[in-house]
């Protein structure tokens, strides 16, 4: 320990020397290093930066030179203490400098410097304001104002500073350069007084009404200034100032501006005002009527959906979605489009479809003239450019740019969620979007539909269109559609039938969709039991008189049908009467094999006997949870029994838990977690009380125990691995569990130490190991100091008591002490968190079933598509890796790109990536293994970072990071074999 301390001090010392050496070289420290070493900086005596700069600047003969010096200077960071000095030097040169570009650079440097963390710029504010006075160059002025903005944002707490800056800005608002006016407005927007009444009269009149000042610049001649004015207004709003309603009129005029950025900002402003004063009444120009402001604003924003610039269109479409207070008839107008042909009214395809449906005629082929226009239209009544919201979404959804279309779909979604009647109306349009040319748009509209699905019921013709998309070759689209079907309401039994037929078609075309389709049918069945009921005989192809052949049980299509029926039968007790004998048998089989898809059914008594398994494996949730807790209780109570008894009990409990995890998916995480823990404990006990450690080492020849020792060290290694799994593979692990896990790891390490002590001769290597172990105990104590009281009688508790003795004793003694403590220690109760899920991965593709080897020329690369689902993985982008194992034992680790991960639902991720393979030539095809790994880094574990932070603050002495960041990987998917064949290159 002493030696270790000495070494550390020495390290520290050398580091310091190194840094100060660097410091003298004008501190060429990268910012990162800079941060790392910030703690040590205090001790340094550094050369004055300001002095160096001053010398440099004085040396400069030409503006170009000076600029070069400044540029160089800007590349290096400046410490907090010297900022002020540097600023003074810069200001001094500023006044002397004649060249505008140099002054500009100085001004920008001032801004940069005042951003320095920990520096309070109020001391330089006056100087900065003074520089404004005599400045002629507009660019420099603008830059100086920018600097003031930086200073102001750092001093937001101080109202008088803000007031002063705003005043300065107001004074420069009359500048002829747009850049200066721009910055002034920005400054006013960021710093203008937000609270009414706080501004004292004495302060100034100018600052009294910032809104008016900004409002005056809505008509500035420069579009950039107009934009800046609107932005400043929005900024004020964001900061909490209530904008006046009077601006509304001005803002509306800005909607007709020539410049897109002005229009875009104006749309935002109008939206803000509509949210502030939704119920105010505004007059309609050129008529005597009045409407609510929010409706008026809605109409105006709708109008902007057909603007000339797509940026504005996107903006407008997005904002429409969040205008919830709009009256319903305005809302419904957005979907309205009156068609005409040669001045005669025509019905839209949607209306025709609806009529066809209601008249009972479905899917008739269209004839020439089917859409022939009907009644004449009064020419006076046709309004080609509507003043209101008419057809805004019709336009938005047909827009040329997909960005606009996506925004429109999103807006539709939000509006439909709040208004069921609107949801019903927009359905036709959403369904149309399923055929958009851009996949993203299609996907978005499917998701939207899913979100509003509780408000709607699909008509048969709409369902037909929706189902047509099931043949899409994109897996994302199909899966999104399955999700949609899960929560869709279908109105007729034909609809259900249609859906089933299309899903089965999908299944034959894309067999990999199996799981997704089954799940979809499960929900479809349970939502529409009464609609499924009349279909049952047809679906099961039963006949009242004849026995029909028994279908193939392994046919995915047949399973799909059964899933639908069984789930419907759950809430429809009359249905089982229609089943034939084999259906019951199949039920029993499926209930066991696909328990997550097939619900427990109350079947008539005779059948219950014939399928005895089913009732026994349908325990309710509560009993199983109870069972889990009971078995754990039992284990935890039995700490003082003899080892033999404990071992047996543990073995049984582990077996129980594992089985429970298989049966109850909700409890699987918890059961596995505890089972793993108990497994560790079991291993520990087994080794500790095995004969290898019972005997005295010193009087028996070591080779006799070689095998035993190997077993013991293997066990220790396994425990270590298991603890990493426990820590990193489960989501929902809390710090209470982390302590226990770390404790177990510590025990494993102790065990390792004991085993090595027995196998190695000589004391030298043991020294290092002992020291390391003690270090770990030390860091454990530091990390989990708050949890220690709950660990009475545990290994670590006892160890800490013995710590003074351990530090001073020889390795052999240490080992002896460890051995006895390990044996005497009680084993800790593992508290269970609320929810615990085990991370799991399933590789869907490659399937590993192909017999055709993937051929490629050796030395070149072949891309292998990997498609996998991940469950309960936190931060998959950082942790999930793909491993490829070649037959020669060579292993390759691939980090997928962050973009390859998708997040279809909470806790679920999907990895779709390409893995590049390459190898030298083989004589014949061979299999490689692909699997997913979960990478971990103990540094990054939740507990460790938390502790690390707190210790940093408490003491400056550098702790060795707990365990110094052990990195590793845990395989968490079944490996898949891929047949490949690298061919020799042809010469």
């Amino acid at each position: 320990m002493a030696a270790h301390l000495k070494k550390r001090v020495y390290e520290e010392f050398t580091k310091v020397v190194q840094v100060s050496a660097e410091g003298s070289e004008l501190c060429r420290v990268t910012p990162q290093q800079h941060e790392d070493l910030s703690a040590k900086k205090l001790r340094l005596t550094k050369p004055s930066k300001s002095a160096a700069l001053h010398v440099d600047l004085c040396k400069a003969t030409s503006p170009a030179d000076a600029l070069q010096y400044l540029l160089q200077f800007a590349r290096k960071p400046v410490e907090v203490e010297s900022v002020e000095g540097v600023v003074r030097i810069l200001l001094e040169h500023y006044y002397k400098e004649n060249d505008a570009s140099v002054r500009l650079k100085i001004a920008s440097l001032l801004g940069l410097l005042s951003k320095t963390a920990g520096f309070s710029p109020d001391c330089i504010m006056d100087d900065a304001i003074n520089t404004l006075q005599n400045e002629k160059s507009h660019q420099v002025l603008a830059q100086l104002l920018d600097t003031l903005l930086v200073i102001g944002t750092k001093l937001t707490e101080n109202p008088s500073v803000r007031m002063r800056l705003v005043e300065v800005a107001c004074k420069h608002l009359t500048d002829s350069s747009h850049g200066v006016r721009n910055k002034c407005l920005q400054l006013i927007g960021c710093l203008g007084p937000v609270e009414k009444g706080v501004a004292k009269e004495a302060e100034s009149q100018a600052a009294k009404d910032v809104q008016k000042i900004i409002g005056d610049h809505f008509n500035d001649q420069d579009p950039r200034v107009r934009t800046a004015a609107i932005k400043a207004m929005l900024q004020l709003h964001e900061r909490g100032l209530k904008l006046q309603q009077a601006i509304y009129g001005q803002a509306c005029k800005l909607l007709a501006d020539d410049y897109e950025q002005v229009r875009s900002a104006a749309v935002q402003l109008i939206w803000v005002l509509s949210q502030l004063y939704p119920e105010s009444i505004v007059p309609i120009p050129s008529s005597n009527e009045e409407i609510r402001l929010v409706d008026d604003a809605f109409g105006k924003i709708c109008h902007m959906v057909s603007d000339g610039s797509w940026v504005v269109r996107v903006q407008a479409a997005k904002l429409l979605g969040s205008m919830q207070q709009v009256s319903s008839h305005f809302l419904e107008q957005t979907l309205d489009k009156k068609l005409m042909s040669d001045l005669r009214r025509k019905r839209t395809a949607h209306e025709r479809a609806k009529e066809l449906y209601s008249s009972g005629e479905f899917s008739s082929g269209r004839k020439w003239g089917d859409d022939a226009p009907k009644e004449e239209i009064d020419t006076g009544a046709v309004n080609l450019i509507e003043s209101g919201a008419c057809g805004a979404f019709v336009h938005g959804l047909e827009d040329e740019m997909y960005e606009v279309r996506i925004a429109a779909v999103e807006a539709l979604c939000m509006l439909a969620q709040s208004s069921p009647s609107f949801a019903e109306k927009c359905l036709d349009f959403l369904v149309d979007m399923f055929n958009d040319e851009i996949e993203e748009v299609r996907l978005q509209s499917i998701h939207t539909m899913r979100k509003i699905s509780n408000n709607i019921t699909l008509r048969e013709d709409q369902l037909d269109t929706v189902l047509a998309v099931l043949e899409d070759s994109s897996r994302d689209i199909r899966e999104a559609l399955h999700e949609l079907l899960c929560c869709t309401n279908v109105s007729t039994k034909e609809g259900i039938h249609l859906a089933l037929v299309e899903l089965l078609k999908n299944l034959t075309k894309y067999p990999t969709d199996r799981e997704s389709i089954w799940k979809c049918l499960k929900f479809l069945g349970s939502r529409h039991p009464t609609l499924v009921l009349p279909l049952v005989p047809e679906l099961l192809s039963t006949h009242p008189f004849f026995d029909t052949p028994e279908p193939d049980m392994d046919d995915p299509a047949y399973i799909a049908v059964l899933v639908l029926i069984f789930n419907a039968a759950k809430s429809c007790p009359t249905m089982p009467a229609l089943f034939s004998d084999h259906t019951f048998r199949h039920y029993a089989y499926l209930r066991d094999s696909l328990s997550h898809l097939v619900p427990p059914l109350r079947l008539p008594g005779r059948k219950l006997v014939s399928s005895p398994v089913s009732p026994s494996i349908t325990p309710h949730e509560d009993p199983s949870q109870q069972f889990l807790h009971q078995s754990l209780e039992r284990v935890y109570n039995l700490q003082h029994l003899d080892p033999q008894g404990i071992q047996e009990l543990l073995e049984f409990t582990i077996r129980d838990l594992q089985r429970l995890g298989e049966l109850q998916s909700e409890l699987a995480g918890m059961a596995d977690f505890t089972a793993t823990y108990l497994q560790c404990q079991l291993l520990l006990i087994k080794v500790l009380f095995s004969r290898a450690l019972q005997e005295k080492l010193w009087n028996v020849a070591a080779p006799l125990y070689l095998k035993q020792n190997a077993l013991a060290s293997a066990a220790a290694k396994q425990i270590l691995e298991e603890t990493y799994k426990m820590e990193f593979m489960y989501s929902g692990v809390e710090s209470r569990q982390v302590v226990i896990i770390h404790h177990m790891r510590l025990q494993a390490k102790a065990l390792q130490l004991i085993v090595t002590a027995r196998t190695t001769r000589g004391v030298e290597p043991l020294f290092g190991m002992c020291e390391k172990f003690l270090q770990e105990v030390d860091s454990f104590q530091r990390c989990f100091i708050s949890e220690l009281p709950q660990m009475q009688g545990s290994f670590v508790d006892k160890l800490l008591d013995l710590m003074p003795r351990l530090v001073t004793s020889k390795p052999s003694e240490v080992v002896k002490i460890l051995q006895t403590t390990l044996r005497q220690s009680t084993f800790l109760h593992l508290p269970l968190p609320e929810r615990l899920h085990r991370a799991s991965a399933n590789i869907i593709e490659p399937t590993g079933e192909s017999d055709n080897p993937l051929r490629f020329t050796s030395g070149l690369v072949v891309a292998l598509d990997v498609d996998a689902t991940l469950e309960h993985v936190q931060d998959p982008q950082g942790t999930v890796k793909v491993q490829v194992l070649y037959p020669d034992g060579q292993a390759q680790l691939i980090h997928p790109k962050p973009a390859d991960f998708r997040n279809p639902g909470p806790g679920r991720h999907r990895l779709i990536t390409q893995v590049y393979l390459s190898h030298t030539a083989w004589t014949e095809p061979c299999q490689i293994e692909v699997r997913l790994l979960l990478a971990y880094n103990s540094n990054k574990s939740k507990a460790a970072t938390k502790i690390a932070k707190s210790t940093w603050n408490e003491s400056l002495e550098a702790l060795p990071q707990p365990e110094n960041g052990i990195e590793g990987t845990i395989p968490f998917s079944k490996p898949v074999k891929v047949y490949i064949m690298p061919k020799p290159a042809r010469r």
């Binding site: 002829s176 489009k337 042909s341 001045l343 839209t348 080609l384 959804l397 827009d399 040329e400 979007m433």
Partner: protein, 591 residues
Amino acid sequence: MPEIKVTPLGAGQDVGRSCILVSIAGKNVMLDCGMHMGYNDDRRFPDFSYITQNGRLTDFLDCVIISHFHLDHCGALPYFSEMVGYDGPIYMTHPTKAICPILLEDYRKITVDKKGETNFFTSQMIKDCMKKVVAVHLHQTVQVDEELEIKAYYAGHVLGAAMFQIKVGCESVVYTGDYNMTPDRHLGAAWIDKCRPDLLITESTYATTIRDSKRCRERDFLKKVHETVERGGKVLIPVFALGRAQELCILLETFWERMNLKAPIYFSTGLTEKANHYYKLFITWTNQKIRKTFVQRNMFEFKHIKAFDRAFADNPGPMVVFATPGMLHAGQSLQIFRKWAGNEKNMVIMPGYCVQGTVGHKILSGQRKLEMEGRQILEVKMQVEYMSFSAHADAKGIMQLIRQAEPRNVLLVHGEAKKMEFLKQKIEQEFHVNCYMPANGETTTIFTNPSIPVDISLGLLKRETAIGLLPDAKKPKLMHGTLIMKDNSFRLVSPEQALKELGLAEHQLRFTCRVHIQDPRKEHETVLRVYNHLKGVLKDYSVQHLPDGSITVESILIQATAHSEDQGTKVLLVSWTYQVGILEDIHFNQF
């Protein structure tokens, strides 16, 4: 009063033979040079003798602009340039220049080789004509001569279709050609900036129509094709070679791709193949999707669509065939139709309008038994569908374009008179601008109010803007200066400089005014009183009492003398230069 004159030689209250003459600020421009599909005699081409009886056309026209490659917009071009004789520049976009000669050659072949006409333009003439063409890019400003400039905007409609802005000085005209305001599968929507032309000449084919969403039509089309193919039937789609054919191809291609379908799609060879080649080249003219994905894959590199061979028609199994011509009146499409008509599993989809008398029109109107040549009776059992895919702007689209461009006048062409009437009324009502719809040969004159640019020296401008508040873009501002018109240029200079340049001496004008006041006091007391009063009233001006007994308020001088006759009356002499302002504040009647 400057004026713009517009005379349609074709397409005035009519569709076809687009040809519009525009005179703007002394420049003559011809917009489009098309043929009429309805006539086979002299009326098929515009009457170019209207332009000039005996002189050369080149002397009368500054340039010719072709908006797109449809024959009703460019069909008369070789006749006009080679046979009538025009050597000036002809402007069109790059794709139009590439595709136009193919269509012209095709047109020539049909007229000369099939119908046996003589006195028609030859292949060589087409080539010579194309040599006179200058290709332009989108948004490129082309200087035709020193004053006349033109600029092309995207118009949708077909590949390479453009709207043109013609500008002389600050007078401008925008000609739309044919355009489409809703995007389709291969082209984007027309777009124009807020250029505020004096006149917008727009097509008005669908003046009285508001169309349904394109999506429904597309979906119906795809669904029908898909269903038929799944049944194992064959689908025949008669198309014209260019334009819609490519859109439908893209539509089917992407659908096949999306749905993973395997049935073959065939495309009749010849003209179309060549055209497809150009579509591949001019990717920048297509819509967002195709433009963005062409790096991975050019959408016009069809994966599922293959060239058609006559023998394929008898192949068993489902297939989709695009065949020309579009109205089923002759050629390959008719041959295939005869082969497939007998099977009710098959389907024919007519994607466009059919002229009366053609087989296409007959089957669309429901005829199930057709008499073919040789007294053969063909029974049509196959399904017949009609799908309209037209790429013109509808009434709403036209209004939208007008709103975007904000013209001062609108002129309608390329539409039927009755329909135009409706649209005209709507435009006048909604935008409060004048709208015209001249017939062929009728001249419309539009008076413009051009603003004349004047050079001003920076010094003067700065000096003038420094006085008073910030300049406001929306309000006119008064300024002092001298306008010098010399050598065809206008300059605004300060009075001093004007005097210097013109070598004139400066004369100062002073106004004097006598005010009689009843005041018995002495002169200097009166002066003092006036001084004190002015001081009180004019707080913002400098009022000075000079030692010689006069008062100055800025440049105004006030002196008081006793009246020669009546000592009780004082005469106040007020003298000022021509600089009003302060005087308004002084009210002498207060005394």
